[in-house]
């Protein structure tokens, strides 16, 4: 870890010291976003490694969802006209 930090300091050229506290703060913020970890009943602190792992899994699952939705949308839009789709959206916006 120290080698990576020295390399990054070399690259950025600015002498900023990133405290462990800052990193822990960011990790906890990230922790709140991941539903896997957020919905756990236990309140104990999760290890940073676990947080990173769950984050990667979560992003991958989100990507999969977007791909899946894009495929469905492309199929749907092939059959219906986008004008009617836009009309449906506007209608829903107006009705709110």
């Amino acid at each position: 870890m120290s080698s990576r930090r020295s390399r990054s300091r070399q690259q950025t050229g600015s002498s900023r010291n990133i405290t462990d506290e800052q990193i822990a703060d960011l990790v906890s913020k990230l922790q709140q976003l991941i539903p896997e970890i957020r919905n756990r009943p236990s309140d104990t602190q999760v290890s940073a490694s676990k947080v990173l792992q769950e984050t990667c899994n979560y992003i991958r699952s989100l990507h999969r969802e977007v791909d899946d939705l894009s495929d469905r949308l492309s199929d749907l839009l092939a059959t219906t006209d986008t004008d009617s789709a836009q009309a449906a959206i506007i209608r829903s916006l107006l009705s709110q």
């Binding site: 390399r7 990133i18 991958r60 989100l62 949308l73 839009l77 959206i89």
Partner: protein, 197 residues
């Protein structure tokens, strides 16, 4: 040897960092991640997405009649990046890669197929440590590959970008699911469920 290579990296990155507003850890308050949860943001995204899809279909109709899922995905990512208003690295990376693709496409169209691709070859020349990398670092590397444009950022900035990217992705999924629901008239079952919708 390795020092000279790292020096050019250092000089280059120093120049680039001076051009940009700096790669220091930004004040978290300046980047508001909660706006991805607002209804208005999602609605704006939905309308822009539909407009982008229409454009994709208009551009692609001479070649292929139906736009593939990939086209929709690219359009959705592009609109998402625009919605970020350039404040985050991942959004700028998405826009930059799309611009590069479009330029390359135009170059090929005009038969000037001299696309200069600058890959990260300097990294491969640097001696990679073959011994075991700590698990945390390995995971951070994997994460940096998942978030666009974040392969070389520092760890704190990577976490910062990740939080924003996740919130944006969640909004993207919500908006596209809502759009699909509108078109099919039946609810979409989600893989994950966010607590607030």
């Amino acid at each position: 040897m390795a020092s000279s290579i790292s020096e050019t990296n250092f000089e280059e990155s120093k120049r680039i960092k001076r051009r940009k507003t700096g790669d220091e850890l930004r004040d978290p308050d300046t980047i508001d991640h909660t706006r991805w949860r607002s209804e208005s943001e999602q609605r704006i995204y939905s309308t822009k997405l539909v407009e982008a899809i229409r454009q994709v279909r208009r551009n692609s109709s001479p070649e292929n009649k139906v736009s593939s899922g990939r086209d929709i995905r690219d359009a959705a990512d592009g609109v998402l990046a625009v919605a970020a208003k350039g404040r985050t690295r991942w959004s700028r990376a998405i826009l930059a890669s799309r611009l590069r693709l479009r330029l390359a496409h135009n170059n090929m169209k005009h038969k000037k197929a001299r696309v200069a691709k600058v890959t990260g070859s300097i990294r491969s020349k640097m001696p990679e440590k073959k011994r075991s990398i700590p698990a945390l670092q390995r995971k951070a590397k994997v994460l940096s590959r998942l978030v666009p444009g974040c392969r070389k950022v520092s760890f704190p900035n990577l976490l910062e970008e990740t939080t924003d990217y996740i919130s944006a992705l969640e909004m993207q999924v919500r908006a596209m699911a809502a759009l699909t629901e509108l078109l099919t008239g039946s609810p979409v079952d989600r893989l994950t469920s966010t607590s607030d919708s």
